[in-house]
């Protein structure tokens, strides 16, 4: 079965530190990749997505992610985090195959806490 793994469950950083959150998926076929963010008290929002083309994708609020097909990874990065980046981050994958209905498979989530 397809799965998505996020290696970091809880990350604590100081402001201006660099961020990298790991995401790996287990599927060898065509995939679409997403990062969602959930700020405290708010609903899930799409941060960025990869469908095709340039494997380095840029999202909102200075976030970017790199799709490395050979490593089945889609790590999220930000050069300098802010206190307002404190949130829960979810990696998600859609696999394409017979009967695909756009089903999103989510990772376990990573809680990012940024200290001012």
């Amino acid at each position: 079965a397809q799965s998505v793994s996020q290696h970091n469950h809880h990350v604590i950083l100081s402001e201006a530190a660099s961020l990298e959150l790991g995401c790996n998926y287990s599927y060898g076929g065509t995939v679409n990749l997403f990062w969602y963010v959930q700020y405290p008290g708010q609903h899930l929002q799409l941060l960025l997505k990869y469908f095709s083309g340039d494997p380095l994708v840029k999202g909102i609020k200075g976030f970017e992610a790199e799709f490395i097909k050979s490593k089945f990874s889609f790590n999220l990065r930000k050069p300098s985090v802010q206190w307002s980046d404190t949130a829960e981050y979810f990696c998600a994958v859609i696999v394409h195959g017979s009967g695909n209905t756009g089903k999103l498979i989510f990772g376990q989530g990573t809680t990012l806490q940024v200290k001012p």
Binding site: N32, H43, L44, L46, T101, G102, L104, G109
Partner: protein, 115 residues
């Protein structure tokens, strides 16, 4: 992007009772989904709500426990039936973006506590 509202935003229910959660979208969408997010865990797809036909349930979820209605292209309900404390979760609906590309937009969620 679609604007999605859910009612109620939260509820505390007694075991053995049922709760119906409503999901309203501000535009017509073809696909709507219901997810569960248990405490400290990730999101798990319960079912895909199909307009004009029965919902498609994921493994581990059954219609008797989670009946779903989808009367039109902007509205769906999820009922959590015969609740137990294990059903305490956040329930979210989502829709597939109008532009396709499998982007999903999520509602604010319904926080359910079963006592």
């Amino acid at each position: 992007s679609a604007v999605i509202s859910q009612k109620p935003s939260r509820d505390i229910c007694q075991r053995g009772t049922s709760l119906t959660i409503q999901c309203q979208v501000d535009s017509q969408v073809t696909m709507m989904f219901w997810y569960r997010q248990q405490p400290g865990q990730s999101l798990t797809l319960i079912a895909t709500a199909n307009q004009g036909s029965e919902a498609t349930y994921e493994s581990g979820f059954v219609i008797d426990k989670f009946p779903i209605s989808r009367p039109n292209l902007t509205f769906s309900t999820l009922t959590v039936s015969n609740m137990s404390p294990e059903d305490s979760s956040i329930y979210l609906c989502s829709v597939l973006g109008l532009a396709g590309f499998y982007e999903q937009y999520f509602g604010p969620g319904t926080r359910l506590t079963v006592t």
